[in-house]
């Protein structure tokens, strides 16, 4: 099962290595890991998608919390969250297939960001299922290249939803 964990970490050298090393040393399974800045320059946010049952995820959470440079952890399992992936996808598109592929991209509400002689580069964001579906739909034409950010996520607003800046 996939669980999304969001960790606020000190923006210091070695923290990413520490988190990644801990996952490897404890044989936890990472599906994706995305790191980026936050509004506070001293802090970064890591969004980690972990594979495992509830017991594994509980250990992941506790082991993350044990790392001194990890400031705060949210486990989004079971919470109402918005989770998004960003993907760049380069699809093989000979001129005769162009209308078809463009229609497909349109259907997925994705964006064309570059057009080559025989390729189209698409930018797509959305929930993971949508991204996966777009990949499947493009496969028959031939995928030349693909880059994904991994999931980033945030809890939906509710009175109880945790916020970093109170």
């Amino acid at each position: 099962m996939k669980h999304i964990i969001s960790a606020l970490v000190q923006n210091k050298p070695g923290v990413l290595a520490h988190v990644a090393g801990m996952f490897a040393a404890r044989a936890f399974n990472i599906d994706s890991l995305a790191v980026g800045r936050t509004d506070d320059p001293a802090l970064s946010r890591m969004t980690i998608v972990v594979l495992g049952d509830d017991k594994v995820v509980e250990q992941v959470r506790k082991q993350l919390a044990k790392i001194i440079d990890v400031v705060k952890i949210q486990d989004f399992s079971g919470a109402e969250v918005v989770a998004r992936d960003l993907m760049l996808l380069c699809v093989h598109t000979p001129p005769e297939k162009r209308p078809e592929v463009l229609a497909l991209i349109e259907m997925f509400k994705a964006k064309v960001v570059d057009i080559g002689q025989k390729t189209i580069m698409v930018e797509a964001t959305g929930p993971e299922e949508k991204i996966e579906a777009l990949i499947e739909a493009c496969k028959p034409y031939g995928i030349k290249n693909m880059a994904r950010t991994g999931t980033v996520a945030m809890a939906k607003f509710s009175k109880n939803a945790p916020a970093d800046n109170q």
């Binding site: 070695g14 290595a17 520490h18 017991k55 506790k62 919390a65 044990k66 790392i67 400031v71």
Partner: protein, 578 residues
């Protein structure tokens, strides 16, 4: 310089603090943190630090190898509860600390390691004696950091001590490039430490404590399962009051020996792979297991699926990640054992539990630790019993790793905390001698005895020279079976007696001791054991006794790996000896 008024002679603004080099800041901050003793070895990039140590009021012990120094700092910390401090140079010096740091990490020993590093502008260039020390030690430290700006040095050292000794203690490493030691800056005023990612849970949830107490009060067949955390938390007194008031049988892990007085009737002694049959049976039959500062290590639980199958589990621990890691816990209480045991004591009631204690007494009388006392050979257990008879609860006992370690745990009854020092989690051969030296440095007037194995001793015996140099009157008792005994036992039991590479040619240990300037004694007759021990104890110098013990003795009982705790081998041997 800005002109702020100075009250009572104390600098009020940072500008008024004097300029100091990084090296001066390091030494002054160590002293500020209460360090009066440290261990370490020299090298190019730590020379600025050693220059400041030249006339610092710090008792400095130089080992013969950085690993030895690290184990000394560890032994010092375990004997006192204070932070052990070790310093080493970059590259090879830092790498030689690895085993010692990992050992301290596994057993939650408070330690600060300072390592020198190459100049900041050389880092990453494969410079002479460069190693990625923080990278290498990240998984074996509680925390580590490299300080690249002298301004960050003083806060880093203060944080290191704070992190090392609070919560679940552990080693913290600070890597200091040589140019940072030489750079100058002003001291930082001593302010509160701000570590937003480091939260300590001390007091335990009061509702959880109430639930735990109610569960204990209802239980018919409880067992108190005590781990090293109780010693770390200095909670032995609270443990005793709690166990006596609630009337509970108490078993301890290897790390916890001494946390509860083993001469008391309710002590079940050690549990686990080589634990007592009565402890293991009691755990397996219990209806409630109260774990305090223990972590359900595989050497303790045996086969997890069938561990304490009928028991509810209460787990008191300061480290939330220990809870429900290996075993599902019904009632977790996160916090400091000292505080929580005291709170629990208020809530619990005495209960006679006569049937349960009768049953335990029956196991105890049927399966005490045994060996062939009639043998004409020197049995290793006999030597330990004789050491116990001669010293009782008067000695700090340190061990290497192997059979001798287990026999010491079985046959030397501990009565006080911090009097049994052994490498539990990592099981580091070679720990005994240097850890004994560290303990003796910490407690100059104490009787410190390293009960060691021949192979373990071989690994770090160069440190005998350190004991001689600093006039540390440690005693070393080698239970010399001419084997890596524990390995030989496994080969006998699980590899068809094929003793592949498990015996080494030993030197004449007594002659080696004499060459180092210590006293050496060899004992090869059972009749001489007592006299040799008496002679050793009367000796004012470091003294080694080489006991030529029965070569192929085994440690019993034994729960083979993968078996349940009650499936112990060797009990029939016990019965045949009665």
């Amino acid at each position: 310089m800005s002109k702020t008024t100075t009250k009572g002679g104390c600098p009020q603004s940072p500008e008024e603090f004097p300029l100091k080099t990084g090296a001066e800041i390091v030494v002054d901050t160590l002293i500020e943190q209460g360090v009066d003793t440290m261990f370490g070895y020299l090298g190019g990039v730590v020379l600025p630090l050693f220059d400041k140590l030249y006339d610092a009021p710090i008792n400095f012990i130089i080992p013969r190898h950085e690993q030895g120094g690290c184990h000394m700092a560890d032994g010092y910390a375990r004997a006192t509860g204070k932070v052990g401090v070790i310093i080493a140079t970059s590259g090879p010096g830092a790498c030689n600390l690895i085993t010692g740091i990992a050992n301290a990490m596994m057993d939650s020993v408070p330690m600060v390691a300072l390592t020198g590093q190459v100049r900041t502008d050389l880092i990453g260039n494969d410079a002479f004696q460069e190693a990625d020390t923080t990278g290498i030690t990240r998984p074996i430290t509680k925390h580590n950091m490299i300080v690249k700006d002298v301004k960050d040095l003083q806060p880093a050292i203060r944080e290191a001590f704070y992190i090392a000794k609070t919560g679940r203690p552990g080693p913290v490493l600070i890597d200091i490039p040589v140019d940072v030691s030489l750079a100058k800056c002003r001291e930082t005023p001593l302010t509160g430490i701000s570590l937003p990612g480091y939260k300590l849970q001390q007091s335990g949830h009061s509702r959880q404590i109430k639930i735990a107490a109610a569960t204990i009060n209802k239980s018919e067949k409880p067992v108190l399962y005590v781990g090293g955390g109780v010693i770390t938390a200095n909670a032995s007194e609270e443990l005793r009051t709690f166990a006596k008031k609630a009337n509970l049988p108490v078993t301890m892990t290897l790390m916890a020996l001494g946390a509860y007085d083993q001469t008391q009737a309710e002590s079940l002694d050690m549990l686990g792979m080589h634990g007592s049959a009565y402890a293991n049976y009691a755990v397996q039959e219990s209806d409630l297991l109260i774990a305090v500062g223990a972590r359900f290590d595989d050497r303790v639980t045996g086969k997890l699926k069938t561990f304490a199958p009928n028991a509810k589990i209460i787990h008191i621990d300061i480290d939330p990640s220990s809870i429900s890691k290996n075993v599902h816990v019904d009632i977790p209480v996160v916090g400091d054992a000292k505080f929580i045991l005291a709170e629990l004591t208020k809530e619990i009631e005495y209960r006679p539990r006569k049937d349960w204690f009768d049953k335990i007494a029956e196991w105890k009388s049927k399966y005490p630790f045994k060996y062939d006392t009639a043998s004409a050979n020197i049995k290793p257990q006999y030597v330990i019993e004789q050491i116990w008879e001669a010293t009782k609860d008067n000695a700090i006992i340190v061990t290497g790793v192997g059979q001798h370690q287990m026999w010491t745990a079985q046959f030397y009854k501990q009565t006080k905390p911090r009097h049994f020092i052994t490498s539990g989690g990592l099981g580091t051969m070679g720990f005994g001698l240097p850890a004994a030296i560290g303990a003796q440095v910490a407690c100059p007037d104490a009787l410190v005895i390293d009960i060691d194995g021949d192979s373990s001793f071989n690994m770090t015996m160069n440190e005998l020279c350190t004991a001689v140099q600093y006039e540390l009157p440690i005693k070393v008792c080698i239970l010399n079976n001419g084997y890596m005994g524990m390995v030989r036992q496994w080969q006998e039991l699980f590899y068809g007696k094929r003793y592949s590479k498990s015996s080494l040619r030993n030197p004449e240990f007594a002659a080696v001791a004499e060459a180092f300037g210590a006293v050496g004694i060899t004992v090869d007759k059972k009749n001489d054991v007592k006299t040799a021990i008496a002679k050793m104890l009367a000796e004012k110098r470091p003294c080694l006794v080489d006991f030529r013990v029965e070569r192929e003795e085994n440690v019993w009982p034994m729960v083979p790996t993968g078996k349940s705790l009650h499936e112990m081998d060797g009990l029939s041997i016990f019965e045949s000896m009665s």
